[in-house]
Symmetry: C2
Subunit: 354 residues, 2 copies
């Protein structure tokens, strides 16, 4: 299928939605994107797997990355797209083919941007991290992502969301001694020993640090608990799985130290971990961008791919059309006016802050 990037952004978005691209099946949409961008004389186009990178090279003093993933969550009886005059409905309309449509329109129409641009349309964001196209670039061709600033066009209701919180999951295990429950005094109940672990969680007061003017909001939650041998046996093991979401002024090592201190005396293992990303709103490119889009910035609480840029030293924000609460829902849609407004704002900013 040929993408017509001379059409308006709503039309481009509906073309993208109708190009079904559930994760691990992004070949067709990546082909269409590559074919549409490759002929444009102001862009260098590189393909890696089903990730397409298109770059301007105008020798500007500044470079920005504008990125979006091409894949969607699985089909849920929500294709083809449907335009009701106010919203465009369909799988991926919100997350995030609306953002992709804006990216493609910018790539095609802004031939002489005031800042050099690297457009990245990548595969494998909705599934395990090992398939993430942006992750592959960061690991293997980081030079392609080198920039002063990055915009990830995930749905954010057209408001800048800066930084992202880190996440760490630990398992706290208590140990006891089995015994028949009819003679409980002969054993030690590991589930009872987990009571203080839950007490520490309920007593927890979240840190809410202010970073670059944004108020983050940490969280510490049991996300799983298990223990038990049989209905008449005192259990010798109980494991509480705990997820810590930490503000981006705290690194992974610091987060782990905090948890080990909080659960001092317990058997603590880190199950997985991903760092946060500082908002980086002190950088000139970021400042100008925030001003250009109207000055409203919210902190990003969830973990997103912006932290991949952060790890490369590139400040990054989320900014895109669509209500993030609709992501992954059968009824997802993107408001037509948000699509147009995002394109307008970004086009103006790329053109030189008009």
């Amino acid at each position: 299928m040929d993408l017509d990037l001379t059409a308006d952004v709503v039309s481009v978005c509906s073309q993208l939605v109708d190009l079904e691209s559930v994760s691990r099946n992004e070949r067709a949409i990546a082909d269409a994107v590559e074919s549409a961008l490759a002929p444009l004389p102001h862009l260098d186009v590189v393909r890696r797997g089903d990730t397409v990178v298109a770059t301007t090279d105008l020798g500007r003093g500044e470079r920005v990355v504008i990125a979006g993933h091409l894949d969607t969550v699985p089909l849920n009886d929500n294709l083809p797209s449907r335009n009701d005059g106010t919203n465009l409905h369909g799988l991926g309309a919100c997350d995030m083919k609306g953002g992709d449509a804006v990216i493609l329109r910018l790539a095609a129409s802004v031939a002489e941007p005031a800042r050099d641009v690297t457009y990245v349309l990548y595969e494998g964001e909705e599934i395990e991290s090992e398939f993430n196209g942006l992750g592959h670039l960061a690991a293997e061709q980081p030079a392609l992502l080198r920039a002063d600033f990055a915009i990830l066009m995930e749905p954010s209701d057209g408001v800048v969301e800066a930084g992202c919180q880190g996440t760490m999951r630990i398992e706290v295990t208590t140990h006891g001694e089995r015994a028949h429950s009819a003679r409980a005094w002969r054993g030690v109940n590991a589930i009872h020993r987990a009571a203080p672990v839950l007490e520490r969680l309920t007593a927890y007061q979240p840190r809410k640090p202010v970073i670059d003017g944004l108020t983050y909001h940490e969280g510490l939650n049991a996300v799983g608990i298990s223990g038990g041998v049989a209905g008449n046996v005192l259990p010798d093991l109980c494991t509480v799985s705990i997820n810590y979401r930490f503000a981006p002024d705290r690194g992974e090592a610091e987060a782990e130290a905090y948890l080990r201190d909080l659960f001092d005396g317990y058997d603590v293992e880190v199950a997985d971990s991903a760092p946060g990303a500082l908002p980086g709103l002190d950088r000139p490119a970021a400042k100008e961008f925030v001003e250009a889009v109207g000055g409203v910035v919210n902190p990003k609480f969830g973990w997103t791919d912006v932290s991949r840029f952060s790890a490369l030293g590139v400040p990054a924000v989320n900014f895109g059309p669509g209500d993030p609460m609709l992501a992954h829902k059968q009824e997802e849609y993107v408001p037509l006016e948000q699509l147009r407004e995002c394109e307008r704002v970004l086009s103006s900013w790329l053109g030189g802050g008009r």
Copy 2:
């Protein structure tokens, strides 16, 4: 296989151990028991499934039941039996073919007991209650179990264990509201809500009532806990499975009321329940029995089939050879001297208290 009940109790026991009878496979041993008892002129023998009941009917003023189960837990590379001169080893030697051997020796050798006797050798004790041969008799032919006193010959190290504690398992469920763990303030964590449940368990002080001179010892223990949806989701449910062991002065209704009061405000469901059994040591038959065996009586903490007699209004005790801590262990054995002593004591008591 023919059982030779004229042999001594140790030999009868080794014959029984070598007759493999894992639960649901008691046909051969029940056949052997029935064939050995049926020719004895002082006994009426009735069979129901793989349960054998042999009764004297001498018109004595008093009747006692002496009972033992014929089945064992699964094979564990511990057959055939082995006699080392001090102990008889092998599957079921302790639990409870030692007791069965004593029963069969008594049935064969005490032709004119001072009190009428109902010997019960039953199937299906080591598995789900629905297979329990004593339970079948109690439900369908309770007249066969009518008596003034009952002795269940489960291993008790040759000491009388009187009564048994009741058991009740409840599930206490806490409810919350799911939310992404990155925005925990939008939800309610059901695992955190279980903290006070565990606190009440750790604060619990067991009741230790004295009944007929015996000190019981209650217990309240979490035997299972589960909750959790995914590593990034606040769970909306957490269930704590709790086992309450209650002394026999407390009925099931009272036990349930106690638990509902203790966990007031929580969603409480009774998963299963079995009543305890009062020691009944005030009955003449019981008193004489205790005196005959030396006067030492301990309370029984675990639930046993004595409560099936109790439910029929028959006071019952556990009394048998073998260390109860060896039950269900691969290395189980029964001391030869305990076998002989149990037979001697019971034979004497049945003979008229000599």
